[in-house]
């Protein structure tokens, strides 16, 4: 192990009451590490003395691929990072390149983007809720959330033909016009899902066991979050009101009326409540957006071959998991000179050790779930 190791595995084990520390590997093949995350746990009995995350099992070199593809060709690749919120990834990338080229997407495209992105936020949160609850032992919410997420995926499928890796947006706008009945579908979905969210809450929010498992588990303060660069619902649950949709509005977010739910304790339960509230806020945004989609073109005037001027750009959006940023350096050619992604999952995962020290093994699972990571995005 190197110097940066949290665990100091070579150090002699400290005996606790006639027993030794136990080092166990959680993952990469483990039902609750959400993919191929490997966590090395140092345990005293069940108490966690330290953790170390080993990542990279899903590394595909997305950033390097970006340097070897044209701007247009790279667009589908970003969908494969956070594959449960592919629309957000595409939005961030397209907006970053547009900003670099000084192009602005037309208003209609922006509205469509907002509708799809917020739908995707709900889908992502639903998937998070189902798997998180499953990790804590409640099996049933998983099936409820997947049932309802299906409706979102159906809308995606009708819109662009794909369900998961949607590749919904193009640099300069959207490729596809909304299909006939898109607005009706979205509105139907809104009235369909609102009572379903209440249903999830009925199963969990006041459930004694759920409260015991999540209250005061994985507490992290707002200051710690900021120091570690943690963003998204994890940051907001610690009481920091920071949401890029309000802080530096992109797409058409400045035109909508919505609130940023925040928590107070920064524990797993607050993160749960924040995400539940976010789903409801997303419904509000979608409702306003879908009612106000303006007429007009869906693509801005962009050249066939995209050649941004020399320069660099950092553009970030509020993905479901936190701040998703793209840093692109252009040398004026058709391919980025350097492309760097700031993935929320990777940064948020760094808070794991801070959150679980002194807790029990079972809490490690709860905390991994509550951070809401997607390994495709962590490893890229």
């Amino acid at each position: 192990m190197n110097d940066r190791s949290n665990l100091d595995l070579d150090a002699p084990a400290t005996p606790y009451l006639d027993s030794n520390e136990l080092i166990i590997n959680m993952g990469p093949q483990h039902p609750a590490t959400h993919g191929v995350l490997r966590v090395i746990l140092k345990l005293d009995g069940e108490k966690v003395l330290g953790t170390e995350c080993v990542i990279g099992y899903l590394h595909r070199g997305v950033e390097k691929i970006g340097e070897n593809r044209t701007y247009t060709m790279f667009n589908p690749y970003v969908d494969r990072m956070d594959y449960v919120a592919a629309v957000s990834n595409g939005l961030g990338y397209c907006e970053a390149v547009e900003k670099l080229m000084n192009v602005e997407a037309p208003a209609r495209a922006k509205y469509i983007r907002v509708v799809l992105t917020e739908l995707n936020r709900i889908a992502s949160h639903q998937l998070w809720l189902g798997t998180h609850a499953l990790d804590i032992g409640a099996m049933t919410p998983l099936f409820y959330t997947f049932r309802d997420r299906e409706e979102i995926l159906k809308i995606f499928e009708r819109y662009c033909g794909a369900r998961l890796t949607t590749h919904a947006f193009r640099i300069g706008g959207c490729q596809y016009e909304t299909y006939a009945g898109f607005e009706k579908d979205v509105k139907n979905f809104l009235s369909f899902v609102a009572p379903k969210i209440d249903e999830y809450e009925a199963l969990l929010t006041t459930n004694r066991i759920w409260l015991e498992r999540t209250k005061n588990v994985g507490v992290i303060s707002g200051a710690d979050c900021i120091a570690l660069g943690v963003t998204g619902p994890v940051l907001r649950a610690s009481g920091v009101q920071w949401d890029l949709r309000k802080a530096q509005p992109y797409a058409a977010y400045s035109e909508f009326d919505f609130e940023i739910p925040i928590g107070t304790n920064g524990d797993t339960y607050d993160r749960y409540l924040v995400r539940m509230a976010e789903m409801r806020q997303s419904l509000r945004i979608i409702e306003q957006a879908v009612n106000g989609i303006p007429e007009g073109p869906i693509m801005a005037k962009v050249p066939k071959v995209i050649k941004p001027p020399v320069g660099e750009i950092y553009h970030s959006i509020e993905a479901p998991k936190g701040e998703l940023g793209y840093f692109i350096v252009s040398d004026g050619s058709t391919q980025p000179y350097r492309l760097r992604v700031r993935p929320p999952s990777f940064v948020n995962l760094q808070a794991l050790d801070r959150m679980v020290r002194g807790l029990l093994v079972a809490d490690v699972i709860a905390v991994i779930g509550t951070i809401d990571i997607v390994l495709g995005e962590v490893d890229r």
Partner: protein, 430 residues
């Protein structure tokens, strides 16, 4: 020899008590196959019920509505490669599932399906039951230790601590029920399972309603402790899938693993039987005092037949609703056959109920009585089985320290309090 065999038929005690080895063996055989079939049925039912809780269909392909799924699973598990890890302690690894299974099955010798429908009526029946069923923990610990792997070890330690802790609250709750049996003229209580049910019969009240709410609280404590005791959700620490992959049986596969499964379900049925015998009046039918006219006896004795008719009707509905595509022909025929079988059993039960409706000592009457006893007992146990599934579908899992806190700081004081209060109320009442 035939005399020896036939002589028992007129007796009103268990074969063990009558000293009739032959019938005891027959009973053991019936119970062993009965429990094995019940475990299979429970396996199917759990998957189906859980699926329907979770808006799924569950097994649908193997047999009509997946009815043959448990058999297919059993076959698959038997044919699987039997892996013993090289690092494992071979002998202990081999013997661990057997310990669990033996402990789970040995309990059934004293379960009172009826006043004479048990293998034996031990005078320390309940002690025997608690003692033997807690031997199951040995199988778990030994399995976790012999696997020589971290996850099973942690799982085994968790579940041993859990089972031992909950045994305490469970035992105290049981004692308060036993105290209630001593409320008679002689002031003599009993530890015999059959004696406990008979005490409820004599006092004319199920112990769950005795000294309301004391009996109820003791029952609830037992009902909670028994879920923990059998390592089921929400107390399924030992096999907390999301934390410890599969807990103590992580390294087990194939037949050995299925023995653990069998032991788990058998233990669930066993503890439910204790709860039924101690608090829910065992084999007694509902309202024996309120509705005691012979006509009510007759009506209640129709219930077994009606139940099977109901099941047959459900199967018939399944046949009718099955799509008429030729692909489903075999399934339709199979389900219709199953419905016919159920209807045949129902008819048989109906004939017995009618033939044995008089309360004399004829063979038919005794047979009818026996079926009634077993029916009501099994029905009450089945309710508990359903509750087990329901818990699993509804609740998240407790954390280990919370589980211990519930056991020691909540259940134990309450059960102690109930015990003391029961004793005081019992003395005052007599």
């Amino acid at each position: 020899m035939p005399n020896f065999i036939m002589s028992y038929l007129g007796s009103t005690v268990t074969p063990g008590e009558a000293g009739n080895q032959f019938w005891a063996l027959i009973y053991v055989f019936i119970i062993f196959t009965g429990v094995s079939v019940a475990v299979m049925a429970m396996n199917w039912l759990e998957r189906k019920a859980l699926a329907h809780f979770q808006i799924r269909l569950g097994p649908m392909r193997v047999g009509p509505h997946g009815l043959l799924q448990p058999i297919a699973d059993a076959l698959k598990l038997m044919l699987k490669e039997d892996i013993i890890p090289t690092e494992a302690d071979q002998f202990v690894f081999w013997v661990a599932p057997l310990i669990g299974l033996l402990a789970a099955f040995a309990v059934y010798t004293v379960i009172p399906f009826g006043p004479s429908q048990a293998v034996s009526d031990m005078n320390i029946g309940i002690l025997f039951m608690l003692g033997v069923s807690s031997l199951g923990v040995l199988g778990v610990v030994v399995a976790g230790w012999a696997s020589n792997s971290h996850y099973p070890l942690i799982g085994a330690l968790r579940s041993s601590a859990q089972m031992v802790s909950y045994e305490v609250a469970m035992g105290l709750a049981v004692v308060s029920a036993i105290l209630m049996t001593s409320l008679n003229e002689q002031g003599t209580g009993t530890l015999s399972m059959i004696g406990i049910v008979q005490a409820q019969q004599r006092q004319g009240v199920w112990f769950i309603f005795k000294f309301f709410p004391l009996g109820l609280i003791a029952f609830v404590i037992f009902a909670i402790a028994m879920v923990a005791e059998t390592n089921r959700a929400p107390f399924d620490m030992a096999e907390a899938e999301s934390e410890l992959t599969a807990g103590y049986h992580t390294e087990y596969s194939g037949l050995r693993w299925s023995l653990f499964m069998l032991a788990e379900y058998a233990a669930m049925i066993a503890v439910s039987s204790i709860a039924v015998a101690l608090w829910l009046g065992g084999w007694m039918r509902p309202f024996p005092n309120l509705l005691h006219a012979p006509v009510w006896d007759f009506i209640f004795s129709l219930f077994p037949a009606l139940t099977f008719f109901g099941l047959a009707a459900i199967a018939v509905v399944g046949v009718v609703r099955m799509p008429s595509h030729s692909f489903f022909r075999i399934q339709r025929v199979g389900l219709a056959g199953f419905a016919a079988l159920l209807a045949f059993i129902a008819l048989l039960l109906l004939v017995i109920a009618v033939a044995g409706r008089s309360a004399d000592t004829s063979l038919a009457a005794r047979f009818r009585e026996g079926i009634d006893y077993v029916y009501w007992f099994v029905l009450k146990v089945a309710v508990f089985m359903y509750l087990f599934i329901w818990y699993r579908a509804t609740w998240p899992r407790y954390r280990f320290d919370q589980l211990m806190r519930v056991g020691w700081k909540v259940l134990l004081p309450i059960s102690l309090g109930v015990l003391i209060l029961t004793a005081i109320v019992g003395v005052v009442a007599s």
